[in-house]
């Protein structure tokens, strides 16, 4: 997939400008090919039979009647998987199709390919399948008791006997959130006629898809090529394999192209979710407000299969205290295996759950001490040179915790008076609430997140850059999920090479090496870092080869004279360069969770203003203002877009977004009942950015995608506490939690 160079260029579109998206025009005119838009002559449609039980033995599976359905080309079960029968991002424990047992509601049992979607659905209906339902394990605490855990982490740092005179305890819960990207899972697999297959999918990480596909197909690496197709949002939902392997199996079995598109209900079971969490905390402090000890126990439910649960629980554990100093920290955390839907990556990745709990604890502590909550945070703010409270890692890069908090505090608050327009009140267009019913609350929260991959992972991104007569091509396998990496890559190449005409080419897995996942807020620093490095080296190579002193879009210059025009340079070379960019290495944790586990961090702080109709438990989030530590601003418009969008996902988790499970079954797998915030729910956002350069990455920039989502939820919960005086220990906050709560309950801890 090639993205056209924009029509407006010039170094006015370099680093630091709000350069426009090069894919904007096709996306605005309906001409951008999303994965669901792909078609191929002679193509079949795939469809998936899914378990109606969260836990069951598949006692009979007869595909014969389905094969007899007109139009059905093939039906596949686990017995048709030629290679590895299991796959997975970190551990191959998820069956390609149910392996005699269904372990979650909606688990794929069989796949059908047919002439059209209706035929495929008729084929599904004709499959004869019988289940023996089993008792589902749905309680994460019970799973811990039974040892059903994907990973347990014990962070032990400092003196277990340490204690402080001021103690606050709390128990907190976070519900299961869905990424709900607007574009459902979709893809097209095309047999290459030589036993291999080309698959076009919307994915966050094509190379791990590739590795899992070839293992399950049992073919050589070079027989499968994963091509990026247009991605309708991701937010973590596309890091795991969904339909990729099924598509390739169907294409291999039929020798014909096969397309699959999930509907929304399937999408809700076809990708992983944010882990629901149960968290118990005790903070102990001096009477002056210095944290002495933090003890925590966290249980995150990973659902039926591993996905990225081991890394999510690592983040929850290592960021269990937040951006605060504390010398004695003991965290016991588990991520469990149950018969609930599998959970994995979602924006914020474990840090979201922890932040909700530790920031509630900080507010409790401030209330107990009778001090300003921000003052308490400033007093304990982690800074360069300090040891991270959980892992003991000495912070060496930029970490402007205090500055972020101070700058947020300095931002003006929105107008005091509650709005009078009825749609601006809690309840919105439902007209439930009059101004007299409204209490306004203000709450703050601060968060800390690792950037890029941690715990010793060999994290890299490959980029190739080529000079052509038309300008520059940047080749990468990184996924442009909408966040604007395509623009950032252009801007960096323009600035470093001095050539405004830059096209970004998203290559398939056979053409270039991995860029790593578009996750962990890592692509600006990793792929962006690779673009900066490869362009800088190529520029140097070109100047040395031609004894030049300047390069721009006309060619190579020496002492004010053009010595090699650009089109000649493309012929003469050096015109292409390639490198694999790595960030400084990290350690694997010791048995106490100690070590230099992270390469870089970002701080964000949010202030929420929420109007509450306490009698009805209805809310309107009026404003969420933020200051974020971003290293350097590469594209102000794109950055603001990430911040505003990320905050909205935090709003969703705070006040409405939750997959509701009943015995392992999702009760609201539709956009009718899984509620995403609308225009009418969007708070005003004012954003400020702190620019203290990172120690690695292009122009000092830090990743910025996740922090907006992390502390926004916690800030909104704090504002609701401020308005109601209720403890608010669970998100999303439901109307019952406010309207039916005991009046006058104190937010004081025990």
């Amino acid at each position: 997939m090639t993205v056209e160079a924009p029509t407006r260029t010039g170094l006015a579109s370099g680093v630091g400008t709000s350069a426009v998206r090069p894919d904007g025009i096709p996306k605005l005119t309906g001409n951008y090919a999303f994965a669901s838009d792909l078609m191929e002559r002679g193509m079949l449609w795939g469809a998936t039979l899914r378990s109606p039980h969260p836990h069951a033995n598949v006692t009979r599976l007869d595909i014969g009647p389905a094969l007899a359905v007109p139009g059905v080309a093939t039906v596949l079960t686990i017995d048709d998987v030629p290679g590895s029968r299991h796959y997975g991002l970190e551990r191959a424990d998820q069956p390609v199709l149910a392996d005699g047992v269904a372990r979650f509601w909606g688990e794929p049992v069989a796949v059908v390919a047919a002439d059209d979607l209706e035929d495929a659905r008729r084929g599904l209906a004709a499959i004869e399948v019988e289940y023996q339902p089993l008792d589902p394990l749905i309680d994460s605490e019970l799973a811990v008791e039974r040892g059903e855990v994907f990973r347990t982490i014990n962070v032990r740092r400092g003196d277990p006997d340490a204690s402080g005179p001021v103690v606050v305890e709390g128990y907190y819960e976070v519900g299961m959130q869905d990424q709900a990207p607007l574009g459902p899972e979709s893809g097209l697999a095309v047999p290459d006629g030589h036993g291999g297959v080309d698959v076009y999918v919307a994915t966050q990480w094509s190379h791990t898809d590739h590795a899992q596909i070839v293992a399950c197909l049992g073919v050589a690496d070079d027989q499968v090529r994963v091509h990026p197709a247009g991605i309708g949002g991701a937010f973590g939902a596309r890091e795991d394999v969904s339909l990729q392997i099924h598509l390739c199996l169907l294409a291999q079995a039929t020798g014909r192209p096969v397309k699959m598109v999930y509907d929304r209900k399937e999408s809700f079971v076809g990708h992983v979710h944010r882990h629901p969490a149960r968290m118990w905390y005790r903070h102990e402090a001096t009477t002056a407000g210095d944290l002495v000890k933090v003890t925590a126990r966290m249980v995150l439910d990973g659902g039926a299969y591993t996905s990225s649960s081991p890394a999510v629980i690592a983040n929850a554990s290592y960021f269990a205290v937040g951006p605060y100093r504390c010398d004695n920290v003991f965290v016991e955390s588990h991520v469990t295996r149950t018969n609930n839907p599998p959970c994995g990556a979602m924006r914020g990745f474990g840090a979201v759950q922890a932040c909700f709990a530790y920031e509630a604890q900080m507010d409790r502590l401030a209330a107990r001490l009778g001090v300003d909550p921000l003052q308490l945070r400033l007093r304990n703010a982690l800074a360069p040179g300090d040891a991270m409270s959980t892992t003991g890692q000495i912070i060496t890069g930029s970490l402007p915790t205090a500055r972020v908090i101070e700058e947020l505090r300095a931002m003006p608050l929105p107008a005091e008076a509650p709005p009078t327009h009825p749609f601006h009140l809690p309840g919105g267009t439902g007209l439930t609430t009059d101004p007299a019913h409204v209490t306004r609350g203000v709450g703050y929260a601060v968060s800390m997140k690792n950037l890029a991959f941690s715990e010793g992972f060999d994290d890299y991104a490959e980029v190739r850059v080529t000079i052509t007569p038309a300008g520059v091509e940047v080749h990468t396998a990184a996924a442009e999920v909408g966040q604007g990496l395509v623009t950032i890559c252009q801007q960096i190449a323009r600035t470093v090479l001095g050539i405004p005409q830059v096209a970004v080419v998203f290559d398939d897995t056979a053409t270039i090496g991995s860029a790593g996942s578009t996750s962990a807020s890592r692509q600006t620093q990793m792929t962006g870092g690779a673009v900066e490095a490869v362009c800088a080296e190529l520029r140097q190579m070109i100047l040395e080869a031609h004894d030049g002193d300047e390069l721009d879009d006309t060619g190579v210059w020496r002492a004010g004279e053009l010595v090699v025009p650009l089109d000649r340079l493309a012929d003469l070379g050096p015109a292409t360069h390639h490198l694999r960019f790595r960030h400084p290495p990290t350690d694997t944790p010791d048995e106490d969770g100690q070590g230099n586990l992270h390469v870089d961090f970002a701080i964000a702080a949010h202030r929420a203003v929420v109007d509450v109709d306490a009698e009805l438990g209805l809310l309107r989030v009026v404003a969420v203002d933020t200051v974020q530590d971003v290293g350097a601003v590469l594209n102000p418009a794109a950055l603001l877009g990430q911040v505003e969008g990320g905050i909205m996902q935090g709003v969703g988790l705070a006040v409405m977004e939750e997959l509701i499970l009943d015995g392992g079954v999702i009760k609201n797998a539709s956009f009718t009942d899984y509620l995403l915030p609308t225009f009418a729910d969007a708070p005003a956002v004012t954003a400020g950015f702190v620019e203290e350069a990172s120690h690695f990455g292009p122009f000092g920039a830090k990743g910025a995608g996740e922090p907006p989502t992390i502390s926004s939820t916690a800030a909104i919960a704090a504002a609701i506490r401020n308005a109601t005086g209720l403890p608010i220990t669970r998100v999303p906050v439901r109307p019952d939690d406010i309207a039916l709560a005991q009046p006058g309950r104190s937010i004081q801890g025990t």
């Binding site: 509907d263 749609f423 809690p426 007209l431 439930t432 409405m656 915030p677 609308t678």
Partner: protein, 271 residues
């Protein structure tokens, strides 16, 4: 399957008379969702969008084909307020009050207004002519009505004039485009006669008659009367717990919402 597009009511009634099992599409916004959710495909569709008579709106008689979009921009009051809360702008461009009535979902947004105003449902068939059915006789259960085979909803007949005051509100967790957890309509006449109807708290729209009788007798209700009104409304509803809300919240919110709407009726100028 085939699809008919009658342009006049008699043609629509004739088509339905020939095949009383046909699927009738008004705006289609409910039926299409069922289709997407794998409901059996209809064999025979009669699409009413072009039936000119059904779009007529004269005083209190609102043709079944009048869209929410027209209603929300119509005379201010409960029906406009309720229509504004239906789905999204696009759905309101297409969806109709007749469809809302015929679908008879417990969460149908206009239903509490119809019930509180004691509106009637006008139905017609080729063979049976026109019947006017009280709302209470029309709604018989969750998505169940007393509509007979071959009958179409042709109009909703509101009293003319309307009560002096009528107010609607609806609770959903989201501030727009949401299915109601509780909805309510309160009307009050100059003589104090008060009606209160609630949606999403019973299989059909529900009138809290004890609350009505109590508060209708109060010419200038004070705090204790308002509190009692609220309590009686909460006692009257029969909600369930489902994924959209709990029984206890719906019961609580019914009383709160009814009281607030009554207070608005008392506070505001007559409509």
């Amino acid at each position: 399957m085939d699809c008919e597009h009658p342009h006049h009511l008699d043609a629509a009634l004739a088509a339905l008379g020939d095949d009383p099992a046909a699927t009738v599409l008004a705006g289609g916004t409910d039926v299409m969702v069922d289709l997407s959710f794998g409901q059996p495909h209809p064999v025979h569709v009669i699409a009413l969008r072009r039936v000119v008579e059904s779009a007529e709106w004269q005083e209190g008689r609102i043709g079944a084909g009048v869209t929410y979009r027209r209603l929300e921009r119509g005379p201010p009051g409960a029906l406009a307020q309720a229509s504004r809360t239906v789905g999204s702008p696009q759905i309101r461009n297409t969806g109709t009050i007749g469809g809302n009535v015929a679908t008879a979902s417990p969460a149908g947004d206009t239903l509490p207004v119809i019930a509180a105003c004691d509106a009637a449902i006008e139905v017609a068939s080729r063979d049976g002519g026109v019947r006017v059915v009280s709302w209470a006789d029309f709604f018989t259960g969750v998505k169940q009505t007393s509509l007979r085979p071959g009958e179409l909803v042709t109009a909703i007949v509101f009293p003319d004039p309307m009560p002096a005051h009528h107010e609607f509100a609806k609770i959903g967790v989201r501030n727009a485009m949401v299915i109601s957890m509780v909805s309510a309509c309160v009307t009050r006449s100059e003589d104090g006669t008060t009606r209160v109807a609630l949606g999403s708290v019973a299989p059909t729209p529900l009138r809290a008659t004890a609350a009505e009788e109590m508060i209708s007798a109060e010419t200038n209700p004070g705090e204790s009367a308002l509190t009692e009104f609220s309590r009686l409304v909460s006692a009257a509803v029969r909600p369930i717990t489902d994924h959209r809300g709990t029984e206890s919240y719906r019961r609580h919110a019914s009383g709160v919402l009814a009281r607030r709407l009554l207070e608005r009726c008392l506070r505001r100028e007559p409509r």
